[in-house]
Every structure is written in C-alpha cells, then in structure tokens.
C-alpha cells in the first residue's frame, strides 16, 4: 500500500466545491448531482432530452485536472495500485452496483444525506460497510 498524508483543509475545501457544484446543478437544472446517474444515462435507453447537458457535465469533470495542470503546472499525486484485471472487476461492480442502487457517493452520500433521505442513508452506510470490509479482507487477512 502507498502511504498518504492527512489533508483536512484541502479535503474540506474540495468538499465545499463539490457541495457548491451540487447546489448549482439543482439551481440550474433541478436535478441531483449524482455522477453514476448522470454517467449511466449517457447510454440508451434514453428517457429524456438531457443527453447534451449530461455530456457537458461529464466533460467538465474530465476537464478539471487538465485546467489544474494548465494553471498550476502540475497535478496532485494519483496512485492507482490495482492492475488491469482488478480494475475491470472493480469497474463492472461499481457500474452495476451504482445503477442497481440508484446512486453512488455523490447522489446518495452527498445529495441524499443533505436531503435527509432514508434510502440514501441506508445506501451510504451499506457501501461504506462493504468498502471497508473489502479493504480489510485484502490488507489484513493474510
């Protein structure tokens, strides 16, 4: 495993930016900033005419590190330890699970908890629990 340093101020600031984005998206489009929902609806079947807006939002997500590199000349550390087979399994589970459970860390964890949704609380506690359990099994069961 790769050691990382505790960054409470940067993380709190980043969290505030994420929250601002969620509030602005609600103000502009009337929709929840749930990234899994936005990404999944880029694929058929299409149920509304919001495709272009969703694509623009995802393009913004991808453009963020590009902008950071342009402005500051560097990017913060990003360490992806998993190899291709694990990434593929993890990706399929993440994609399937977030659609099956109607949301991910942003839709349930941020927007849902802010709205005091019981479903989002159950969802958030569940993915936190299985995420913690998975890391525990991988790192400490040997």
């Amino acid at each position: 495993m790769v050691a990382t340093s505790f960054t409470p101020i940067a993380s709190l600031l980043g969290g505030v930016l994420i929250g601002l984005s969620a509030v602005l998206l609600m103000w502009a489009t009337g929709r929840i900033a749930g990234i899994s929902g936005i990404a999944a609806r880029l694929f058929p079947p299409y149920e509304d005419r919001e495709f272009a807006g969703r694509l623009a939002f995802v393009a913004g997500l991808i453009a963020a590190p590009v902008l950071v590199r342009l402005v500051t000349g560097s990017l913060p550390a990003q360490t992806i330890a998993a190899g291709a087979p694990v990434l593929i399994v993890a990706g399929v589970l993440t994609g399937f699970g977030t659609v099956w459970g109607s949301g991910c860390t942003s839709g349930h964890g941020v927007c849902g908890l802010s709205r005091l949704s019981v479903r989002s609380l159950v969802a958030t506690l569940t993915f936190m629990a299985t995420g913690i359990a998975t890391v525990f099994v991988i790192r400490h069961w040997s």
């Binding site: 994420i18 990234i35 807006g53 997500l61 992806i80 291709a84 699970g97 709205r115 159950v122 790192r139």
Partner: protein
C-alpha cells in the same frame, strides 16, 4: 447556454475532486482501511470531504428548493421514494466491493481520465459496461413482470 453552464458546474465538481484528494485512489483506500488505525496509516481526509460537501449542500438545497422552478427547467426532479427495497441495499453493497477493490467511485474515476491515466480508462470502460448491464437487466425485469402472467411455467 445551458450546455456551457452544465460544463462549468461539472468543472467545479471535478476541481473539488482534485483539490480534496478524492481523485487519488490511494487516499480513498487508506480512508476505507480502518484496520490501519493501530499502525497510523489511516487517512481520515475523506471524512472532511463529506463534511464540507454535505454542509454546503444541506444549506444550499434548502434555499434553492424554495424557488418556483430551476433556471433551465420547469420543475425540480427530486427523488421522493422512502421505501427500503432489496435494491437499495444490494446495489450499494456491490458498489462498495468495487470501491474497496480499486479505490474509485464514479465521479473520481471520470475525473481521473483527465489525469491521462490508462488505468482510469480501463476502470471507466468496465464501469460503463456494468452500468449498461444493470440498466438492461432492470429493463428486462420490468418487461418480464408484464409478460410473466401469460406463460408462468415457461421461464
């Protein structure tokens, strides 16, 4: 105009992910690693991401949802369900395993594409496949429910 605004809002979300450290899977996995507390390798940073995001959203939603309608839409589309069905447990349980395996959830994985990482491309491609599969099965189930009473023994 709507498109530009949504791009800017997505950009802001992505900046939050980069600044907060959530776009680094190593940080996410060290947060989920409660077993690392005794050794001092636990990284509590992500609790601060959640705290910052939830605090702003909690206050912001309260104000925004008092408006007659959103800027670019006729009405707010806010989920209203409050029943606990199996899907709201099974889905997140599956997602959590994927999250714990790679350290990516959907937002940070998409933002990681902008870092130019090949690993992120592999993860996102697999994630999209998982999403399409889940939507396909959900659609199949909803159409089976309608068709089921006709030939209940044939399936």
């Amino acid at each position: 105009m709507t498109i530009l605004v949504q791009f800017a809002i997505g950009l802001l979300f992505g900046l939050g992910l980069v600044v907060s450290g959530m776009s680094n899977p190593a940080k996410v996995l060290n947060f989920l690693d409660l077993g690392g507390i005794p050794a001092g390798t636990w990284d509590a940073s992500l609790a601060f991401v959640m705290a910052g995001a939830v605090a702003v959203t909690f206050v912001g939603f309260r104000h925004v949802l008092k408006l007659a309608h959103p800027l670019f839409a006729e009405r707010f589309s806010v989920p209203t369900r409050n029943d606990i069905d199996p899907k709201i447990v099974v889905g997140p349980a599956i997602f959590g395993v994927g999250w714990g395996l790679a350290g990516f959830c959907p937002g940070p994985a998409l933002t990681a594409l902008g870092f130019g990482s090949t690993s992120a491309v592999i993860f996102v491609a697999a994630m999209c496949a998982g999403m399409v599969l889940a939507r396909f099965i959900a659609k199949l189930q909803s159409s089976t429910r309608i068709a089921a009473p006709v030939h209940p023994l044939e399936s």
